[in-house]
Symmetry: C2
Subunit: 213 residues, 2 copies
């Protein structure tokens, strides 16, 4: 009885590419770039290493595509949480802030994923462009939310958006890096307080206080 050849089923190119990208992202999130070897990625995707070379130009190509997918997913998350522009601007903004400061966005794995890409983003111009574009789009979205409040001069919007973005990113970082240091909901409240103070309005009242009986 010779070593039996592994059974397999053929799937669409899209399905295979998605599965490989998802596997790569999971592994990077869990163990950093080092853990995302070709063999590990293939194993997690339920496939043989050779298939990676069949659907991608190589490991670097797969990594680039995975980064693209991650950034696209993050952006989709942001527009989803925002919803339609029916609610009043302050409430929309409050929802935007708190969404970033609780799971699944605020999560050690997500931060690990983000950190795992940093060096390649810096060395690969293609990835750097994706990074810059996504960041600026996020900030522009925030700026438009602030503009909708109708409280600030147009010339101040850029600085305010950068500041609020900083608050959100910074608290996200702290909470993701050291989850045990904060009570549940604490960072959401602090985020609303800080962004409200910067913009000169009370956002905390827009927040469903989950600690009240």
């Amino acid at each position: 009885m010779t070593g039996e050849r592994r059974k397999f089923t053929r799937k669409s190119e899209d399905a295979r590419r998605e599965a490989l990208i998802a596997a790569a992202l999971e592994l990077i999130a869990e163990g950093g770039p080092t853990a995302a070897t070709v063999r590990a990625i293939a194993a997690r995707a339920g496939v043989t290493p050779g298939l990676i070379r069949h659907y991608f130009d190589g490991k670097d190509d797969l990594t680039r595509e995975a980064y693209r997918a991650m950034m696209a997913a993050m952006q989709a998350d942001n527009t989803t949480v925002l919803g339609p522009a029916t609610a009043d601007p302050a409430t929309r903004l409050a929802g935007f802030v708190t969404a970033a400061l609780r799971p699944p966005v605020m999560d050690p794995h997500r931060m690990g994923l983000w950190a795992g890409f940093i060096h390649q983003v810096r060395s690969d111009p293609d990835m750097a462009a994706v990074h810059a574009e996504t960041y600026l789009r996020y900030r522009d979205l925030l700026e438009s939310l602030i503009a909708d409040l109708g409280r600030h001069e147009a010339s101040a919007l850029r600085g305010l958006a950068i500041a609020c973005n900083g608050v959100i990113d910074g608290l996200w970082l702290e909470g993701s890096a050291l989850p045990a240091a904060f009570a549940p909901g604490e960072l959401e409240r602090i985020g609303l307080m800080a962004v409200g103070a910067i913009l000169g309005l009370d956002l905390l009242s827009r927040h469903p206080a989950e600690e009240q009986p």
Copy 2:
């Protein structure tokens, strides 16, 4: 003539350990954890790979020590920039904020170094403890600076310190990740504006405005 054996000079244990740690940190900052191989570290330290095993229990041990050294250096930076408690509290706070938002603290390499450690910090309890301790000490320092202002109730200090820390970290992150997106000094000004707004005081006036003729 056989291959000549490499000349070398003996050095103290401390000097060799420091050189190896410095080399490891440089490599991680430049190219991420992947680039910091034993051979690369040894080469940069002007030494042969075997010496790493002579002074450290292995590569992981060297990595841990390098992380410790980095965190200690960062902490020393913070207390240095603060200086003696002679100046008035608001000016001290302003100096603390701006120091984090300009080189050499705000720097792509530093961010890369920090990011390069994240996964090991998460998986190694020893490194995790160092991380938590350093973060909390930084925040406590910030909290005491805020308390010195004499404007806030003690019960509010924790939240304010977390918020200001978030602003600083977030802007540091943005500026380090995408330096080209900001004008020189812009993030310092935005940081002072935001921290001032959160704490209810004008910090911008404490900042030497370098853009005025």
